[in-house]
């Protein structure tokens, strides 16, 4: 594998790895060059970034939506009781 000639399969791996660690400079450059020329790999990268954002999504909608389902008081009490009984 020549660093300046990454193909889509190499780039997909490097793009994934770049989300978890810093790539060596020459790999980073090779990936950037490829992404400039390949809209599919660029799209793949955007999608991986989106997956990460979705994974971290925390839903705080009940605080904004009055109609949102909430835990009944009975259920809350049951859970509290279970927590108190937990070892």
């Amino acid at each position: 594998m020549k660093h300046w000639m990454f193909r889509c399969n190499d780039v997909s791996q490097k793009v994934s790895q770049s989300l978890d660690a810093s790539l060596p400079f020459h790999h980073r450059m090779a990936v950037q060059m490829h992404l400039l020329m390949c809209c599919y790999c660029a799209r793949f990268r955007r999608q991986l970034i989106m997956l990460g954002k979705v994974s971290r999504h925390v839903d705080d909608e009940p605080s904004r939506d009055q109609t949102a389902a909430t835990l009944s008081n009975e259920t809350k009490e049951r859970i509290k009781k279970a927590l108190r009984a937990a070892p």
């Binding site: 889509c8 705080d60 949102a68 389902a69 835990l71 859970i79």
Partner: protein, 185 residues
């Protein structure tokens, strides 16, 4: 008290994923019980709420795994562990990444996307899915994941790569993808 402070938010999230009130309540209770047990491991890197949501997400995925959802990445993919099959002999995409018809920035679309997301993630082989959840949901570093799974950094990146490839492929197959430019390179 956590239950009063975060119970409704967690329940809302769980109910949206599992659709059944009783199951959602059980998942919330399990989340709080797990949180009490793991309280010492909460390092304060994230907010308490984010931490609790992280535990709940693990529970939701476990629930899907146990129940085996109707949509299976494994069924959709001939050999789910063989990520190399996603590319042709020349190293080009076998099937080009499609344009996704969604904008998870919008609340409603986020809900729909999350449903598909958790179903697909529950069908990714467990070790890869675990690595992905540790990384993306819990925000652990590669080193921390290596320690938890007792693997090398290279193995960790392979697991994460595999999880991401399978996840996006599954999402594309079950409704997000729209091929605009033909199928293969």
């Amino acid at each position: 008290m956590w239950v009063d402070q975060y119970g409704d938010s967690l329940f809302h999230f769980a109910l949206a994923r599992v659709k059944e009130k009783e199951i959602a309540e059980d998942l919330v209770q399990e989340t709080f019980l797990a949180a009490v047990k793991a309280q010492d491991r909460f390092k304060g890197h994230s907010s308490e709420k984010t931490w609790l949501f992280g535990i709940l997400k693990h529970k939701v995925i476990d629930h899907y795994r146990k129940r085996k959802s109707t949509i299976h990445a494994r069924d959709l993919l001939n050999d789910p562990d063989n990520v190399e099959a996603f590319f042709n002999a020349k190293g080009g995409w076998q099937t080009r990444p499609a344009h996704w018809q969604t904008n998870p920035g919008k609340v409603q679309e986020t809900k729909e996307f999350l449903d598909l997301f958790y179903r697909c993630l529950s069908d990714v082989p467990q070790r890869s899915a675990d690595a992905f959840i540790y990384r993306e949901v819990d925000g652990l570093s590669t080193e921390e994941i290596c320690t938890r799974l007792d693997i090398t950094a290279n193995n960790c990146w392979v697991l994460l790569y595999r999880a991401r490839m399978l996840l996006r492929k599954c999402l594309e197959r079950i409704g997000l993808g729209r091929q605009q430019e033909g199928n293969s390179k």
